[in-house]
Symmetry: D2
Subunit: 381 residues, 4 copies
């Protein structure tokens, strides 16, 4: 019997989750948006049976076993804590919190309450990202030496672009790094199985002043120019981070939200002693495998050509492209399968609160490195 769900946060990503849950046949009891009006209208349009009026109501709805949390970053900690204490499993949008103290507490609280915590690093669930990890595990590119790439967007290119993430009181002190950089870092460290040990970062606020609309904005939506006020921006439009990873792996990541024509392009290359892998999220159905002494290879997303362990992440045959919405289906299948099985000692294939906490620690190291213009080590190194 699949666990039953509620969704808190009904913006673009929250709605994506509702669809994905339905594809899996998960029952969704209700939703809670940023205001009573939003809640009512989105619940109606999505056909969700119950429009909650408060987090408290969600927490006390005994039908609900799993809560999906897609609010802005700041409230995550309070909300997730409340839900865990109420006995709910929590699947939270990234970044998990706004600092590592909070994320550490959530890790502990989940253990204490014996609830399952997940973080929506959904990009891992592109079938060929799963395959990239499997290929490295089986030695297909030898020993990984280098990781490099970028996550580029253009939705904040203009001074007139606005979103709550620009406000450090809602999004935290970092922006591009925490919003898209952590996707890249999570993906590449997970694929290579190597954690970051040292960082040296350069951050820039390319657009130091923006026009903030007086009403609330949806992610990826455009502002009404007639009702705005100038606001000084302190968060990062751009970052590049030199990386040292476990096992003598070196690398660099670039993130930007001001790169015209790049809508949401995460790209990585992993260079090993016997071959390379490269992939980009805007053409997710092809994985490039570089070879030195032979032709390089293009592996299509095709369950018939993928590893035995990963082909279940490709729901459709080769030549039938899968996309962003499908990543949530695969993530939730893993998460709900784990919750349903009920063995909290079993290894977790999905991104957990521990993952979320590691990413927060990384963000803090990046922030410190940029401020002090120096290398910063992670953890005890």
């Amino acid at each position: 019997m699949k666990p039953k769900a509620a969704v808190v946060g009904l913006g673009f990503v929250g709605r994506a989750h509702v669809e994905a849950l339905r594809r899996l046949g998960v029952t969704i009891f209700g939703g809670l948006g940023s205001s009573a009006e939003t809640t009512a209208s989105v619940c109606a349009s999505l056909g969700l049976p119950r429009a909650y009026s408060s987090l408290e109501e969600v927490a006390s709805d005994t039908n609900v076993e799993v809560v999906h949390l897609y609010t802005p970053n700041y409230p995550h900690f309070e909300e997730a804590s409340r839900l865990l204490r109420a006995g709910k499993h929590v699947l939270c949008e990234k970044p998990l919190t706004v600092d590592s103290r909070e994320s550490e507490l959530l890790v502990s609280l989940a253990k204490e309450t014996r609830r399952v915590g997940g973080v929506a690093y959904n990009l891992r669930y592109y079938p060929l990202c799963q395959e990239a990890r499997a290929l490295i595990e089986k030695g297909a590119i030898g020993r990984p030496n280098l990781v490099h790439g970028s996550f580029l967007q253009d939705w904040l290119l203009y001074e007139s672009d606005w979103n709550w993430r620009l406000d450090p009181k809602l999004g935290g002190p970092l922006r591009a790094v925490s919003d898209i950089g952590t996707h890249w870092l999570d993906l590449v460290t997970w694929i290579t199985g190597r954690k970051v040990t040292q960082v040296c970062a350069d951050l820039a606020t390319v657009i130091p002043q923006r026009q903030k609309p007086r009403g609330r904005m949806e992610t990826f939506q455009k502002a009404d120019p007639s009702n705005v006020e100038p606001v000084a921006i302190t968060t990062d439009d751009y970052a590049s981070v030199l990386l040292h990873l476990e096992g003598d792996v070196r690398g660099v990541m670039t993130v930007s939200q001001v790169s015209a024509g790049r809508k949401a392009r995460l790209w990585f290359e992993i260079d090993g002693s016997e071959g390379s892998l490269a992939w980009n999220s805007e053409e997710p159905n092809m994985l490039w495998m570089g070879r030195r002494n032979a032709a390089s290879q293009e592996l299509p997303k095709d369950p018939g050509l993928m590893s035995a362990a990963t082909r279940r992440y490709a729901a459709y045959p080769g030549g039938h492209p899968e996309g962003y919405p499908d990543t949530f289906v695969q993530l939730f299948r893993d998460f709900y399968g784990y919750v349903e099985a009920g063995d909290l000692q079993a290894p977790r294939s999905f991104p957990t609160f521990e993952t979320g906490h590691e990413e927060m620690s990384l963000c803090e190291a990046i922030e410190k490195s940029a401020q002090e213009r120096t290398w910063v080590s992670l953890g005890g190194e």
Copy 2:
């Protein structure tokens, strides 16, 4: 109130439909597979409440308003007729029937019974195919002059590959043409708004004998080589068809199911007096627009960059790839919206039984042209 559904045919495509219906919040009452065992196991795994035991049962289930029909081609006619007479709206997999006499009868019967008939030419519902049509309508490439392209697959490359479509008793006298060629023809004639008037075709059975497994095979699955029998093949592995379209448009289409490395690649180019469009289904989130006296353009699937009339077909922001599963969601939204509105005089934006009938007429003209090695005109021309 969204109309309620049942699904007949529970193979790969049938399951895709179930998922897509759920994303739209459509209630599915039950399913019917190719055998009692299949029905039971697929209905259980998909969580469909009712496992039907016969088409008759579906037809007489008064809860059901729309039936999705994904059986092999031959039974379509009998099944669709029965369902229409029972008062069901029918959304049928392509090709609609195995000959144009049948498809014409279905068109008439749907009118007579005042039911809505649709055919699952879902590729139209890639957002950038919708946009291509809108761009041509608004004159973005001037007058269309040429259409060319192909639909290539490799799943029948080897003598040991088998599928029911290879058997003319199940699939009809044509195979590559009716299975994938009609997708291409539907897509390109719909995008350009021009029907085919004349064809000159060359068909080939590249692999004249295959090893047929003694059990039943799923599309895109592999046979057990130990239990096969040799069978002579008469249907087309390959076809190229010279085309004349309304409005002095010329063109050519190539289809093949034996092109190694092409998993399911539909590609078209439309050359107009002021520009060109090119698109390919394996990278569906980019539309190329050729220009003579300026740089050519890459239009991403981005609702913010698409025409007002088509952006609703892109469910996610730019940079968030959509794929094959999403096309069914968009198709069904159009179809169910039409059924729900209930005005049978309203223009239909989705592919209808008339579309299905036109494609059958085209198939017959192609078959005749190939047999007689001559040009064949469509309709009264």
Copy 3:
């Protein structure tokens, strides 16, 4: 000692030949252009020692052993005949003549005079086209089954575009077919080692009237719109040709000079029983090799990765792109090496007058097929 050369025809291609000859260290004695003024100015700008005043002068220059002929198509026959009789080897621009009677006579005359005739089907000399041929010869894709592709340009898209090739009195009765179609046909039949046996063609004059400038135009240059006259056009802007080749190979070729954004894009795909090859002249340094049961491959132009027999056609290491100018260097190296060796019985690796004659026969079959709207067999078949 490398044979010494003269160049007749000093347009765009003629100048490309001069550069290529110099890269090989071939001495060029002089040039002859379309008028005394052109001859004088181009010879001066290229630093050619002698500006000839007539073909007769070239023919009687005893220094000259090889003459490169890049005049319009019509005079080729008279000029080549005169030069052969004067004892010159002749390397002629394609198409060799304007009909197969002429080309047959040139084949005979070259034999009789014991001179070497070549035709500038230079595209064969892209290193990866050489490699494609070698790969097929060694069975890398099994038995070739299908050939398809196109050669698309946009330089004649507008009614105001003009070039001597539009005039059948200079270019012959065909245009797109003879100018670019013969490149495609030569390339694909040479790579596969299979000749065309039957054709069924559809030709179209997309722009039936053009504005002809009153002065002479260079290929790829733009006309002065103030000094033009309307001219009815009879030659083909577009053609698609269904093909049967030796060994049960089927295929189709499309050519167009009115496809916006396609500057000069020759693309082919060859589908075999074990794999496929695809290549496109606008990205000539990559050859795609399709596979069914494995990742497909990207072979870069890299002598270290090419076959032993073909790597000499790649003059630079991998990652150092070679282009159109380099194809002439490779062609001339083959041609001059042959002339220098002096053994007229040795097999010829370059395109010969026999090649040119075959292409003329193909053109005539295509023209006949289009006029009669029927299949036409080549030769005795």
Copy 4:
């Protein structure tokens, strides 16, 4: 009258220069290789009239006005100094010297002797790199904000790969940075018109020990494994460098010689306030121009579509790819045109000894930054 040349250094690049000079009609008097045998055989195969026996002989050959210098990095300084003092103009392979003291002296010496010094940063001469610079100058992407990219190779991936550049006594203390990194830095700073002001670098020797062949190796050639000795490697296989440029531009560059499948791929992206540019040297005939509120663009190398100031760098029409060999032709045309004009006060469009000196200063800053694990400022900043 074009200046006359000699070539010192007859490896792969030296031979490329000979070809390029001949395409321009420059007379080459002779060559000098790394040994008497090399000199004799290469001069014979290239048809160079004189095989010099020493640099002294070149310096005293009064026919020669320009000397092309393609020896390993260390001797550059002595050789260039000797040639300048003998009254020769010098076109030197990059890097100009092995430290900035030497390069500064060469800048002074060239001024003093009134000779012209050039450095072969030939990649600037890809037509679309010229166009990128022109587009930025005319404001096509607004104010540049970010530059990022990489130059990746794989020819030193294996422990068994060897080349003189690996030996710091011949190549200097840096390798990937000085050999390919300076190409990237020169190209991007030249295109944007912004110099580097600060760097923070991470360098790695991925393969700390290699097998050195006992004989001499040609660049891009393979060693005989039976006659090698193990050598500890100290130079960089990999580097990533955080960059600050004039005008608040931020960026990062990655270079590697151990990235399988990347033969010699220089890629850059320049993100501006109104658009972006991206280009890659393995597909040099296309420039991507990113747009936020419109379709992005693909500009082909087509003189008809390029800026008035740059189209002369495209020698062939659109659709006719140009490659690596063509860049030298364009570079030399600029350089020889300047020498021929004789006005030493005129602005120089080609990379000069000053360019070479700036690159050496950059290399030293990168080396220092990597050693001290800190940011380093250039010049007086």
